[in-house]
Subunit: 336 residues, 4 copies
Amino acid sequence: MIVVLKSNPNQKQLDNLMMWLRSMDLDIHTSEGSKHTILGLVGDTSKVDIDLISALDIVDEVKRIQEPYKNANRKFHPEDSVIDVNGVKIGGGNFQIIAGPCSVETEEQICEVAKDVKASGATLLRGGAFKPRTSPYSFQGLANEGLRLLLEAKAMTGLPIVTEIMDMSQLDLFGEVDIIQVGARNMQNFMLLKELGKTNKPILLKRGLSSTLEELLMSAEYIMAGGNEKVILCERGIRTFETYTRNTLDLSAIPVLKRLTHLPIIIDPSHSTGKAALVEPMSLAATAAGADGLIIEVHNDPQHALCDGPQSITPAAFDKLSKKIFGLRNFLTEEN
Amino acid sequence: MIVVLKSNPNQKQLDNLMMWLRSMDLDIHTSEGSKHTILGLVGDTSKVDIDLISALDIVDEVKRIQEPYKNANRKFHPEDSVIDVNGVKIGGGNFQIIAGPCSVETEEQICEVAKDVKASGATLLRGGAFKPRTSPYSFQGLANEGLRLLLEAKAMTGLPIVTEIMDMSQLDLFGEVDIIQVGARNMQNFMLLKELGKTNKPILLKRGLSSTLEELLMSAEYIMAGGNEKVILCERGIRTFETYTRNTLDLSAIPVLKRLTHLPIIIDPSHSTGKAALVEPMSLAATAAGADGLIIEVHNDPQHALCDGPQSITPAAFDKLSKKIFGLRNFLTEEN
Amino acid sequence: MIVVLKSNPNQKQLDNLMMWLRSMDLDIHTSEGSKHTILGLVGDTSKVDIDLISALDIVDEVKRIQEPYKNANRKFHPEDSVIDVNGVKIGGGNFQIIAGPCSVETEEQICEVAKDVKASGATLLRGGAFKPRTSPYSFQGLANEGLRLLLEAKAMTGLPIVTEIMDMSQLDLFGEVDIIQVGARNMQNFMLLKELGKTNKPILLKRGLSSTLEELLMSAEYIMAGGNEKVILCERGIRTFETYTRNTLDLSAIPVLKRLTHLPIIIDPSHSTGKAALVEPMSLAATAAGADGLIIEVHNDPQHALCDGPQSITPAAFDKLSKKIFGLRNFLTEEN
Amino acid sequence: MIVVLKSNPNQKQLDNLMMWLRSMDLDIHTSEGSKHTILGLVGDTSKVDIDLISALDIVDEVKRIQEPYKNANRKFHPEDSVIDVNGVKIGGGNFQIIAGPCSVETEEQICEVAKDVKASGATLLRGGAFKPRTSPYSFQGLANEGLRLLLEAKAMTGLPIVTEIMDMSQLDLFGEVDIIQVGARNMQNFMLLKELGKTNKPILLKRGLSSTLEELLMSAEYIMAGGNEKVILCERGIRTFETYTRNTLDLSAIPVLKRLTHLPIIIDPSHSTGKAALVEPMSLAATAAGADGLIIEVHNDPQHALCDGPQSITPAAFDKLSKKIFGLRNFLTEEN
């Protein structure tokens, strides 16, 4: 961490600052220029509150050199994390496709889709029981009944299930859920993150619509700081000025996150683009860029999906797509 | 609502669509062109799920003409709403300044600031007890103890208090709080919004960092649909590419929201800019643009604030500023 | 095009509007609701100025159904365009890699890089002679001398060359240049676009930092409306709030543009990310998403590049990368 | 400028870097930590190419402390610049309103508007002769004839005129123009900026749609580095995700620019919002925030304006507005 002091700092304030910094076990290297004095802080600065220092009268600017996250940081954990979900592994060379409908609607629907996507190679089943919707007048999900149907589909197919939690009060309901999803709107619901940090469930943490990659990692850090290291990151598009796609899928997040963290990264080509026709090219691109997996919306009757129909693909389309994805993945793995 | 059909739509699907639309008590006006057929839907379309229609195979595009919110809509409620907070009125020509520290830190701090800002003309006291922080290692607020101190400051000064809720599980603790604030990160925490809709507390709803004004109104609609009409909207900056200010304060939100809704609109010049030096010009600008109030951070020792010090102003600076704001407000009111 | 009228429009103004629309050979289908009257305009609306209609007192809203571009529109030109650059074909299944340094610096540098990238499979050489730089104090390129050196490298290797024009006054200097590049900052330099429309040179048109895909196509339309159909589109990252990468590479632009237009689309993984380490994963992702080519910065001494060094890769790295790209491209082509 | 070196830098490369930095007359202060070595560079670093240093193998990160612009920097020119336009002064306490139509259309139109806005207190006349339009099929302005009509209106009313240049080849036509406007799309047309730097005309430089304030100042620096110090900055909205307004007017740009530069800053409430109803509140807000002037679109028949009608106000509305603006301005001036 570098602290640039204003010219002619008040000596007493400077002494206080120095004492305070040393109390945090930091070494201080001072470089005095004619206009500015620069302090170089060496040691574990991840827990130093940068706002506190910036606020001081004698400080012009503070700049981190070390990242502000530690548990999620690849520097302190060079090996890829592998998250084991009931025997299905994600990360560290293990690539998985999560598939299923946006919302669970009926027993027939979820079971049929589950069988179909399993037959096509998906190893995890997704489906929403609690649905965050912009309008209070839109379908809000089947709630508990949706969870029950998901568990039936799991029992029938053996596929571990992924579903979204909307509030920490629901946590008790998620006992049989294999991966708890935190949606983009909840990425900075810090109380929820802290609660999830106390569980030992794998967490699928989606990037917020206007969150930087550093903020995504800080949210992962909230979970990990509580003791739960099983975090799977998910890029699902960011909000930009472009309106043709629902959001802008930021695929450079894959190699960037791979450098910054040891956690697995998966991509959601369905919600990010909002258009079924873009799911295939974006799935292939994500795979080529090195993603550890994909989460794809599949609905057996997209025309009558109760939510997000325009981006769902049919089981038949998914079957063709998953063959292409696995083919590409094999090609790329053999190449290396 | 306008539905543009694809060319040569399947007749059976079209019949189904027509029947379904009529079942929602909508009148349908059909306009057949050589390439496209256009359906004009007339009636109360605010509760029609636009995604459902867009998903249909035979539909090319759907476009709302009416806004998707009703309770918050000025069209159905032409008069300004006035929110009464323990006798302090906001909206409909009533302008208020909310002031106080980012976080409650000590009894001395909050009480001293409360006395000072009251003397300078503030009519409501703000202060954070539960603080949403990007890093799990940053100061997270005094929690219950912070609430207790706020209530002491209220008892001492008579100022109604505004403080942020972070999760619906905290609602019981907010019994004595006068305005419950929903922070930007929670603007789309729909479960929290629904719970707040069941209370009769005034809600200060902050715009999310990447939320459109329509989404802000949809979140207000969540609260209002539950029966609680006391919503105060707050613009606090949106996320853009500009990095000099923390966020970009969108003051055009004031006249836009004034047209779209009857709810009062206040501005937060402190969090949006993140810089104390910008608080005065942005406060004056917001007042000139027609805001119903301001929420300003004041700290008696900004250098040692435990959070967000760089944007806080001192009680002395606030005193000068509030004189300017009220002077400007009086000038503008007399003008009209 | 759909025109939504305000309720109770002035009859005389409505008659004028109808007459004016008919004078443009448009058929008008009227749909009268209880609150709104909707006009559906059928015919060639690509040349109708939407602003003019929106401005009318009696009009509430205007919405295009047809795209506002015609020459670039795939609807009117279903087959992929193939751009022939001195025998090197781009588009319609022809995939090319353009490589070379950001700036031409010395004869030795450009010729060495040219030989190297040709040996690795690049079929076109890039290099900047005129450099748009944010600061007037940064290196601005070798100008005419840079062009001369590029032509030497072309003579030596036979590679057609691509270089950026900064102003239409430079057009005479570009007689021997094979592809004229229009940079992101000039994407809406309409006078330059019009001049380029009068030439018969292939144009590499880069998307502006904050331009929508529709605006990119409108800029292509400027060139094509002048008679020059040889436009190659290039996605090179858009400006967002994320700061880890220089810009956010929008790879969904590839399938979106493939649907909207018949023009070829190439990707610039170097400028978009601004980081050499991201060039490989983003190149592979772009290839998998269906790009018609890539434009990659290669410098024989990236440490001493006079501009944009951090994103350049060495000839040795390019050699490995191009093998991977062509391998992937072959795999994908055989798959289909 | 601070240079953070990677751990264990190659000694020879480090020696080269030191020698090179010293050759630019910079003092170097070294601070060696256990993990990082930090160089503090003291002296005039505004002309150091930060990219060159960042690219070095041994460098981890470079961070400016000084701003990269000098002529535009308030630090080196503490007094406000006052730009004299044929006797009309802008900046340093002088506030002006520029008004007129988006496009010059007919002699009657421009002369009538000119007389009207002069009578209402405007001191400069705006009007477009060359119009940058997204579509090649939209009205492109009257060109030379438009300039001629503007000069007639100037002769008749005595108002100095402001009009936009689109390419440096037009410069000869602008001999009688009083302020040359550089539009948002041309803010980084560096060849044009350099040419304008050779003139002694006042330049109205509009901020680009996705340009940071620092980039705006760097573009001003291009003009000033050529010897022309008469630059007026103009904020006209930036591109964000919000779609209700055409762009998002960033009024915090006013106090920020006032701190960073001595150049005057004016605001364009018409183009930024794109809606006539927002012009008044945004004009008042800009005035309250300390702008040095406003540029407002006025059209005597907004319904039939050939471009940008929806945001133009009538002369009658302008008359009322300018009274309010001047009243507010007087109030604020007397306050201080």
